[in-house]
Every structure is written in structure tokens, then in C-alpha cells.
């Protein structure tokens, strides 16, 4: 029982962390150009200003 008192909040906290991370990513436009994100990894960045 005492382990549960610890573990349930920990599990919920970690879950909530993931949820919050997802919502943040959604809000900051990470999902707006999924095709572009897949292709951009192929671009060489030789100048730092990019």
C-alpha cells in the first residue's frame, strides 16, 4: 500500500509530463509541416545563420 502511495503519483506525473510535452509541441507548431520536417534532415547546414 505504501509503495502505491508513491508509485501512483509518480506514474501520473510522468504521464502528465508526456502530455504537457505533446501539447507544448502542438502549440509551438512542431506538427505543422510533417513532410517538411522529414525532408529537412537531409539539408546540410554549412552556415550557422540558418
Amino acid at each position: 500500500m505504501t509503495t502505491l502511495v508513491c508509485l501512483i503519483p509518480v506514474a501520473l506525473f510522468l504521464g502528465a509530463l508526456g502530455l504537457a510535452g505533446f501539447l507544448w509541441a502542438l502549440r509551438s507548431g512542431q506538427y505543422e509541416d510533417l513532410d517538411g520536417a522529414a525532408e529537412r534532415i537531409l539539408i546540410d547546414r554549412d552556415d550557422k545563420s540558418n
Binding site: 501539447l23 525532408e39 540558418n50
Partner: protein, 762 residues
């Protein structure tokens, strides 16, 4: 005004250098201010498709002066450019130099898709809650007792609150909306089931009961939200793809003031009496009268006529026609809101209503389903009350009946099939606007085609090239390259590679043809009466398509015959439609002769020629009155009212903007086989939807008696509901592999082809 779908420009892309770039006034009108002197312009660039494109465009634009930054969005095929200063940096030209075509489109203040992000957030919250509650429920099912079980139930109840409030809100609002208007939809039983399940579970938890349905109510929301989100994504994708086609519309025109000043005014500010300057290649923004100049007008989008019309001063011109060869000064005779285009919108709105009566299968099922389910639960309650007199037990069992019948499978039965069908069509270059279009298409028995631009490409094709001396043809082709007249473009396609004839001077005479001087000889390509001034002019009317000739010093050296090129696979498409029991007709605004020829080649049984836009609507309404379900396929402005009058409608990507918006389906590739394919997929989808509904009903027939007898536990409910949902989803996926002519999957080449089609049509 937005009627600038590609007319003649798309013939052969020889005109990339001559096509008119949007003027900086137009760009300024279409950009929006980000404050602090910073402005943003969104451009649609349909041909970007890989990392190299992104890098090329972003680097090139970043180097321009006063450009703060450029960002390519590959998913929507757009480039947003942020710039500052008074003068517009030449970014459209810069993109053009890289080999991409960029178009402006209307700035939207609210560009982000609010509904989608709300749905995704709801899915995330519901998924989080469902996962955690299921974890606790599994512990309860595997034997947690007493205080531990109560603790788990309390934690579940807490987690469920945000899920119900946030994710469930979507269903509660929709159900409330339906009830308030005296309607019934699938969300009503969902909302009732979910909230009652939660209330009962809370009551059980407070009283240390052993059965709580928190997991059922939240995972139900999770599953249904996934279906709903997929449905929304499908429609949104079609919408952006269709919007990406929007051509640079005539959003303004150069106005010549009485004091000689020139102002660029938006279309809405143009008043009757103003003098407008229309350069070659521009669309005429409002109805007017030509004051000065002569030119050829491409009326194919407006009237369906395939041959360009020669106009001279004093004649009236209609809004939406494309000025091909000479510059014109016109006097506006109507404001934009009274012009031809606005008239089409009015006709379209009047014609709409036929499809407003259509009720979606899901709604029809739910009007039957919800009362039956609620009545069953109520009768169960009464039965148990009469049998045992234990009201707590009676209510518990009645609510268990509601939970087990909660239409999870039924809620997914329709959208999941439509999402798979839309995906399948998307891979083949066909956009579906919404699910009800698929349902309506499955029921049609008559297909009505427009001629110009639909069955034919609306571009002339040179038919007697083989009988013309190659050297002569090469000379004609070199001359023709200087003009954007559709006939010229057809001839220019035959230019001999490399061997460019050098002319001393080339001049275009709008309405007549092209004149070129070369080593003392004068060549003319154009109208017989003008070019062959020394020849006897007797055979004028004999050449059906106007009679275009090439002359040297007034002596005819070659005659060119044209015909309207048929759309690829038009005949096969008509045959295939006939094979599946759909009768095909043709309605056209073109002459009877031109129609008879096309209908003979294609084997179209019936046609009506010389129709006005309202005539097309009447034809379709007559068919509908005779009990036919009519599919309209058309592209022109003149087809738009007919597109919305028909039971369901399809437009090619080359159609006028307003036509694309009115149509339920838009196909991006040239082949007309898209029409039978869409019909085929929609009929199969209709079959699968009926199967899915049957599965859901069978599931209920098995599960409901168990629930009524009081044997349902939360574990049984969870298993039964997931099993029925999985079955329905699995059945829907069968659509992917259906059919003998199942076309290739979405391979890279395939996708490129569809981009190519987008590019060509833009």
C-alpha cells in the same frame, strides 16, 4: 473576384518567360502586416517536393534585400516570406528564376486550423486518461480488494474529470446542438452513455461498490475522437490541396484616371465608368465595354466556347474572360458585385438545396438507433424493478445496457470507411470534400459531362501536322512562339529543336495574327483573310476552326487545321461508366457541330448544345424530377450553378476557382478515368459501410441480452467494446486492397506525378 484558373497558360509551358508576374501592388494587397514595419506574404508554390527545393528557395530568398526570412512548408506547399520596407522585394521573380511557379493567395487572418488542434488536444488528453485509468482498472480486475480498490477507483474518477470535461465537451456540445434543434445524431447516445456511466461509477465508488466503468467511458471517448480526428484531417487535406490550386486571381486592375494618373485598385473598388487597362495575359475583372484596342479573348471558362473570340473596340466583354493577345482599355459597365461571376454565384445559391435534403447514413441510423437503445435501457430498468424491487440494482443494470450499447462501433463504422476511401482516392489524385459526397456518389445513375475543359482539354491541337512540310512547320512554330494565343501554342509545340529561325522583326496583331520579316520576305501566320491578302478568299467557311494559314508575301504556303484535344482516357471513362450502369450525357455551351463531333468520338449517347448556365441547371433539374440521381462533371464558370444543382459533382483541377469550390470532388490528374474510379471506390465504400453497420447491430444483438440479464462487468464491457471496434476498423481496411484494377500504392513516383499535375495545372 477569383476566376483565374488556368486557361490558355497551361497549354505548353513555353510561356514561362511571358507569363505575367503579380505586380508589386498585388503582392502588397495580399500581404499582411506583422507590425513594426514587418510584412508577411504567403505564396503557394505547388512544385516544391523535396529537401533540395526547400533549401534552394529558402537560401535564394534569404539573400534578397529587405527579406527577413523565408520558410517553406512542404505539407501545404507554401512559402511564407517576411519582409520589411515600402517596396516589395522581388521574391516572386526570384522563385520564378529558380524554376518554380509561385502564386499569391488571399491572406487569411486565421490561417491555423483551430478545429484540428482542438481535436488533437482532445485526443491527447483522452488518450492520457484512458491509458492511466486502464492501468488501474487492470489491477482491479486482477483482484485488488477493499481499500486498495477504492483508492484505485477514486484516482480513476479524478483522472476522468479533465477527460470528460475537455475531450467529452466536443460530443456534449454537438449532442446539445442536435437536441436543441429537435434532431438526433450519433453524439446524443454517446453523450448520454458516457455521462451516465461516469455518474454511476462515481456513486459506486462513494459507496465502496465493486464495479466502476471509468475505463469504459473514457476509452470510448478516446476511440471516437480518433475516428473524428481522422475524418477532419481527410477533409482538411483535401481543402488545402484544392486551395493550393488557386491561381492568382484578378484581385485588382490598373485604373486610368481622367487626369492621366494610373492607380491600382482592388476589384471591389472598381465602379462603373472607370477606365481599366488590361494587359495581354490578364483576366478581365468586371463586365465592360472596349474603348480602345483589339485582342482575342479566351471565353472557355465563361461560356464553354472552345474557340477564342476576336474583339475590337466598342464590343462588350464579360468578367472572367482571359485577354490573350493585345492590350485593351475597357470602360467598366458594372461593379464586381454585379458582374458575370457574381451572377453565377447567385444562380449557384439558388440551385443549391437539392443536396441539402440529403441525410447522411450515420444520421439516418442514429435516429433509429438512439431511441431504441434508450427505450431498451428504460424497459430493462422497469423489468428489474418489477422483478426485484431493488432500485439500485435496476439502475445499475439499465446503465450497463447503455454502456454496452454505446455506439462505439457504430460511431466508427461510417467515418473509418470514408477515411480509408478518401485516402485511396487521394493516392489517385482525387480530392474528396466530405464524407457525404462519397455516399451521394454511390447512388448516381446518370452522369452529365460538360464538353470544353472536361471531356476535351479546351486546348486546340494541330491535326494536320504530318501533311505540312517540316521546314515550313518549323518557321510557323518559331513565329508562333511569340504569341500566347491557343492556336499559336499548339503550333509552337512543333518547333524543331535547335534550329531557331532568326527573324528581323516579329509583331503580333491582336485579333489577326503574327507578322515576321526575314530577309526581305514577309511571313504572316494567322487569319486567312489577313495573312493571305493576295490569295483568293473563297474557302473561308470551309475550315471549321476558323482557317489559320501561314503566308509568305501574301501567298498561302500552309494551312493549319485544329481540333479540341480530347482529355486523356475520355472514351474509356465513358465506356466504363456505361458498363456499371450509368448513362452518360453531355451539356455544352459550345456549338452543336462541335458537340456532335465529340459525342460521336466518345460514344456519348445524348447531348444538348448551346446551353446557357441556367439551361444546364434546368436540364439537371428535369433529370432529377424524373427520379435520376445526377452526377455533374464540369469545369467552367458556366458549369458552376449546374455543379451545385446536381446530386453530386466532380471538377478537374483546371476548373475555375468557384467551380472547384462548388464541386464535391476535384481530380488533379489529366485522365478522366478519375470519374469511374471515384464511382467505383464510393460504391465499395457504401457496401463496407452497410457491412459495418450490420456488424455493429449483430454485436448489439449478442451483447444486449447479456447486459439485460445483468451479467455485464466492467471487464466484459471493455472486451466487448474494443472487439467490436477492432472488427469494424479491420473491415474498413479491406477497402485498401479491393478491386481488380487496384492502382499502385502511394509510391514516390506516384506522388510526384500528382505534384506534377498540380504544377501543370497551376
Amino acid at each position: 473576384m477569383s476566376c483565374c484558373a488556368p486557361g490558355a497558360e497551361m497549354a505548353l509551358d513555353v510561356s514561362s518567360t511571358t507569363s505575367v508576374l503579380p505586380s508589386s501592388e498585388e503582392i502588397r494587397l495580399a500581404s499582411r502586416s506583422l507590425g513594426d514595419d514587418l510584412r508577411q506574404t504567403d505564396l503557394s508554390v505547388p512544385t516544391v517536393h523535396c529537401a533540395a527545393c526547400i533549401q534552394t528557395i529558402e537560401t535564394a530568398l534569404g539573400k534578397l534585400e529587405r527579406v527577413e526570412g523565408a520558410r517553406v512548408n512542404l505539407s501545404t506547399k507554401r512559402v511564407s516570406v517576411r519582409w520589411r520596407g515600402d517596396e516589395v522585394p522581388p521574391f516572386v521573380a526570384a522563385i520564378g528564376r529558380l524554376g518554380y511557379q509561385a502564386h499569391l493567395f488571399a491572406p487569411e487572418a486565421d490561417a491555423k486550423d483551430r478545429t484540428l488542434s482542438e481535436l488533437i488536444r482532445a485526443v491527447a488528453v483522452a488518450g492520457f486518461a484512458a491509458g492511466n485509468i486502464m492501468l488501474l482498472s487492470v489491477s482491479v480486475w486482477s483482484g485488488a480488494e477493499g481499500a486498495t480498490r477504492d483508492l484505485f477507483h477514486w484516482v480513476s474518477a479524478l483522472i476522468a474529470i479533465p477527460a470528460l470535461a475537455f475531450a467529452g465537451g466536443i460530443f456534449f456540445r454537438s449532442a446539445w446542438n442536435a437536441l436543441r434543434h429537435g434532431r438526433m445524431n450519433m453524439d446524443v447516445p454517446i453523450a448520454v452513455g458516457v455521462s451516465l456511466a461516469y455518474a454511476m461509477s462515481l456513486y459506486e465508488t462513494i459507496n465502496h461498490g465493486d464495479h466502476a466503468y471509468f475505463d469504459a467511458s473514457v476509452s470510448l471517448l478516446f476511440f471516437l475522437l480518433i475516428g473524428r480526428t481522422l475524418d477532419h484531417v481527410m477533409r482538411e487535406r483535401a481543402r488545402t490541396a484544392v486551395k493550393g490550386l488557386s491561381q492568382l486571381a484578378a484581385r485588382g486592375a490598373m485604373v486610368l484616371r481622367s487626369d492621366g494618373a494610373r492607380d491600382y485598385l482592388p476589384v471591389g473598388d472598381i465602379e462603373p465608368g472607370m477606365l481599366l487597362l488590361i494587359a495581354a495575359g490578364e483576366r478581365i475583372p468586371v463586365d465592360g465595354k472596349i474603348v480602345q484596342g483589339a485582342s482575342d479573348l479566351d471565353c472557355s471558362l465563361v461560356s464553354g466556347e472552345s474557340t477564342p473570340k476576336t474583339v475590337a473596340s466598342g464590343e462588350r466583354v464579360q468578367a472572367g474572360t482571359l485577354n490573350l493577345t493585345g492590350s485593351l482599355t475597357i470602360e467598366a459597365t458594372a461593379a464586381a458585385k454585379d458582374s458575370f461571376l457574381a451572377e453565377m454565384v447567385r444562380l449557384m445559391e439558388a440551385a443549391e438545396g437539392g443536396r441539402a435534403h440529403y441525410r447522411r447514413i450515420a444520421d439516418r441510423v442514429s435516429t433509429l438507433y438512439a431511441p431504441v437503445v434508450h427505450l431498451t435501457a428504460f424497459v430493462t430498468f422497469l423489468g428489474w424493478m418489477a422483478a426485484t424491487g431493488d432500485w439500485h440494482r435496476a439502475i445499475t443494470i439499465a446503465i450497463a445496457v447503455l454502456i454496452i450499447t454505446c455506439p462505439c462501433a457504430l460511431g466508427l463504422a461510417v467515418p473509418i470507411v470514408q477515411v480509408v476511401a478518401a485516402r485511396r482516392l487521394f493516392e489517385n489524385g482525387i480530392m474528396v470534400k466530405n464524407g457525404s459526397a462519397l455516399e451521394r456518389l454511390a447512388t448516381i445513375d446518370t452522369a452529365v459531362f460538360d464538353k470544353t475543359g472536361t471531356l476535351t482539354l479546351g486546348q486546340p491541337r494541330l491535326v494536320n501536322a504530318s501533311s505540312i512540310d517540316p521546314a515550313t512547320l518549323a518557321i510557323a512554330a518559331d513565329m508562333a512562339a511569340h504569341s500566347r494565343h491557343p492556336f499559336s501554342k499548339a503550333i509552337a509545340g512543333f518547333a524543331s529543336p535547335g534550329g531557331q529561325q532568326k527573324f528581323d522583326a516579329v509583331a503580333e496583331y491582336p485579333g489577326f495574327g503574327i507578322e515576321a520579316a526575314d530577309a526581305g520576305a514577309i511571313w504572316r501566320l494567322g487569319r486567312r483573310g489577313w495573312a493571305g491578302w493576295k490569295a483568293r478568299t473563297g474557302g473561308e467557311g470551309k475550315h471549321g476552326y476558323g482557317g489559320t494559314v501561314l503566308t509568305k508575301d501574301g501567298i498561302i504556303v500552309a494551312t493549319f487545321d485544329f481540333e479540341d484535344a480530347l482529355r486523356a482516357d475520355a472514351r474509356a471513362a465513358v465506356e466504363r461508366l456505361n458498363d456499371v450502369g450509368v448513362s452518360v450525357q453531355m451539356l455544352s455551351g459550345d456549338t452543336a457541330g462541335a458537340c456532335a463531333e465529340v459525342s460521336k468520338i466518345l460514344g456519348v449517347g445524348d447531348f444538348v448544345a448551346c446551353l446557357l448556365p441556367s439551361g444546364k441547371v434546368e436540364c439537371i433539374e428535369t433529370l432529377a424530377k424524373d427520379g435520376h440521381k445526377v452526377l455533374m462533371v464540369g469545369d467552367g464558370l458556366n458549369d458552376t450553378p449546374a455543379l451545385s444543382a446536381a446530386h453530386v459533382s466532380i471538377a478537374p483541377a483546371t476548373a475555375a476557382d468557384i467551380g472547384r469550390n462548388a464541386a464535391d470532388f476535384v481530380f488533379l490528374r489529366e485522365s478522366l478515368l478519375a470519374v469511374p474510379l471515384a464511382l467505383d471506390v464510393s460504391r465499395k465504400a457504401g457496401r463496407l459501410i452497410r457491412q459495418n453497420i450490420a456488424i455493429a447491430i449483430v454485436y448489439n444483438a449478442v451483447a444486449v441480452p447479456i447486459a439485460i440479464l445483468g451479467h455485464v462487468t466492467p471487464l466484459i464491457a471493455a472486451i466487448a467494446m474494443s472487439a467490436s471496434s477492432l472488427l469494424v476498423i479491420g473491415n474498413a481496411l479491406r477497402l485498401q486492397g479491393f478491386g481488380p484494377h487496384a492502382p499502385a500504392r502511394s509510391t514516390a513516383a506516384d506522388r510526384r506525378a500528382s505534384f506534377g499535375a498540380l504544377a501543370r495545372s497551376s
